[in-house]
Symmetry: C2
DNA sequence: CTGAAAGCGCTTACAG
DNA sequence: CTGAAAGCGCTTACAG
């Protein structure tokens, strides 16, 4: 029968009790070396693999942590996951990755799954308000850290990024270059990250205080490359007099999609149009018009979150902390001063 | 106490036996509706969440499948994972994603983890020979499907891609454009996929049968954007007389990295150098010199693998099948005929 | 339709 | 250092 070798079989085969086999597995030093050798031989011969469900049920603790992200195909989030894995892996925890696809139902299903599994901890990039889910996880003794989103004080540890500051730096850069009409490109979702980046964009405009300057909001179906194509089409559909000369995209996927679509339509970046992205994923620098982007410390973010989770799970005195990491505007080739109208006409003639 | 509400508490609270609570959870139709209502109320009031370890231990089956990929930051693999999730999610299985990072030790650790968890099935993109691990999983009653790699007949189901054909089509394209010296860019690893793509490249050369045509092998540290930078540097370091005029990169990450580095060094793509990638990830089309690439049906691959897993796990008569999907060369802007030497000199003058 | 009881495969005090 | 036994939280025939 498949899966039928258990600790009892091993005990019988090695001529010891099951308790001794368990000791070999969990507290090796308590077992005399010749006994241990016999047990290990039996384990190998019988191809015994411990049943983790049984172990966990009895021992009341899991060695797994779950990471739940918004979009597994976005390299920003997988880089965050790698940061988590750096830290938790070193501590002997295994990390499994789950993809909510920015869908609250899917998020909640995965949280339910992880709760039923009684994992050691959950690190989640939330879709919408998450307080209730955090409380439910805690009630089952599961540690929770919010990723890329600031937790209300007292609720949980979190590691987020100063998205208001990041958005501000992006738009300040465009304004400083001389752009007057700037598009902010977001999505249909209500992720707090995107809202904060939009807020930062507004703050930059307020501080700039130039009469007539205009921040235009553009909404893509999703924060994806596809969404960037679509946003570009929206921009190109605007009457030229009102059309922005630059866009701040709320992530790099959007920015790369927009870059591609504008180029395909003969709009040159940055000569005719400037673009700033957000995240600074590897593909941003690798674009052949290298993308100016607001860099988030993705891996650090994951690592710090992993550390906070370990601290909480250790059971020692623990006070929830909300870490906020800074961003860095990386200026590359996709941003330049707007072309002056006269110059443009001259060139066209 | 955290995590202390169990099925017994619910039973007591609802005034029924634990068996009845379990029936409400698992075989709702066997319970009279008023009893069910009382139990459900108790579950809600006490915030009961079933302990999946206990359920699984007793019921001897898991509702989880694991997907193990080579590089979670590569959108090709996450797209495959989404395909798997499409199919398994619909069947009520949850999918957790694990990242071997092309490291055999990490792969084996994750396989061990999934085995101890007694998951329902594992879908794995293998690093190196995997026969032993497949046997071990089967022995525990765990279904296995190989992803993106052809299984030896009889060992397991697999869904792979005709990488020899894909490699051949890429290089045929370059040869047909008139390139005579072509680089094949692979990595240090010994993934069968890359070996097959290299083989396809060789086949194309043999079929082309043009004396003096040369296939140059370039080895990057890893199949990443970073690796592409490095490979480009290697190419630029070659004496011009021997330097290839085109490269076939064994994935798009390499190709995008190479594209970027060559552009940065003033080598124009495709005027001075042609590049073909592999995978056709979304970033390939979105590059501003849109990348010619060999398209793999990533999502289909994952979906088909998911279906094969379900079939195997269903316990019905099952014969292992090895599906091989085709590729499609997508020609975009990164490939062109080589510039003739004289023209090049003329332009420089 | 409901309850009582066995048992899934482990770990962990407790004796000896 | 080793063994016997209790029990983790469930599910599932089996009676009634």
């Amino acid at each position: 029968m498949a899966g039928s070798v258990n600790i009892k079989d091993v005990a019988r085969h090695a001529g010891v009790s099951v308790g001794t086999v368990s000791n070999v597995l969990n507290r090796t030093d308590r077992v005399r070396s010749d006994t241990r050798a016999r047990v290990e031989a039996a384990i190998a011969e019988l191809h015994f693999v411990r049943n983790e469900s049984a172990r966990q049920l009895r021992a009341q603790r899991s060695r797994i942590a779950g990471v739940l992200v918004l979009d597994i195909t976005n390299p920003f989030f997988t880089e965050v996951a790698r940061g988590v894995e750096d830290v938790l892996g070193a501590a002997g925890l295994s990390v499994v990755l789950c993809d909510s696809d920015t869908d609250e139902d899917r998020q909640d299903r995965y949280i339910q799954l992880l709760t039923e599994q009684r994992v050691q901890g959950v690190l989640v990039v939330p879709v919408g308000p998450i307080d209730r889910q955090v409380t439910r996880l805690r009630r089952q003794g599961i540690s929770v850290v919010l990723l890329d989103s600031e937790a209300p004080e007292g609720l949980a540890c979190s590691v987020s990024v100063d998205d208001v500051g990041g958005g501000r730096s992006a738009v300040q850069h465009l304004l400083a270059l001389g752009h007057r009409r700037v598009a902010f490109v977001g999505g249909k979702g209500r992720e707090s990250q995107v809202a904060d980046r939009a807020k930062g964009a507004h703050v930059a405009f307020l501080q700039h205080d130039e009469p007539g300057a205009e921040l235009v909001s553009v909404t893509a179906r999703a924060l994806t490359i596809e969404g960037g194509y679509e946003a570009a089409t929206q921009l190109l559909g605007m009457p030229e007099a009102h059309r922005p000369t630059a866009a701040f995209c709320s992530n790099d996927l959007l920015a790369l999609g927009m870059l591609r679509e504008l180029s395909a339509e003969g709009v040159s970046v940055p000569d005719d149009f400037s673009i700033v992205g957000y995240d600074d994923i590897d593909f941003a620098a690798a674009a052949t018009v290298p993308l100016s982007s607001v860099r988030q410390p993705a891996r650090d973010l994951g690592q710090l979150a992993g550390e906070l989770l370990l601290e909480e799970a250790s059971g020692l005195a623990h006070e929830h902390r909300q870490a906020v990491l800074g961003t860095e505007l990386v200026v590359r080739a996709s941003t330049a001063p707007p072309r002056r109208k006269s110059a443009r006409r001259a060139r066209r003639a």
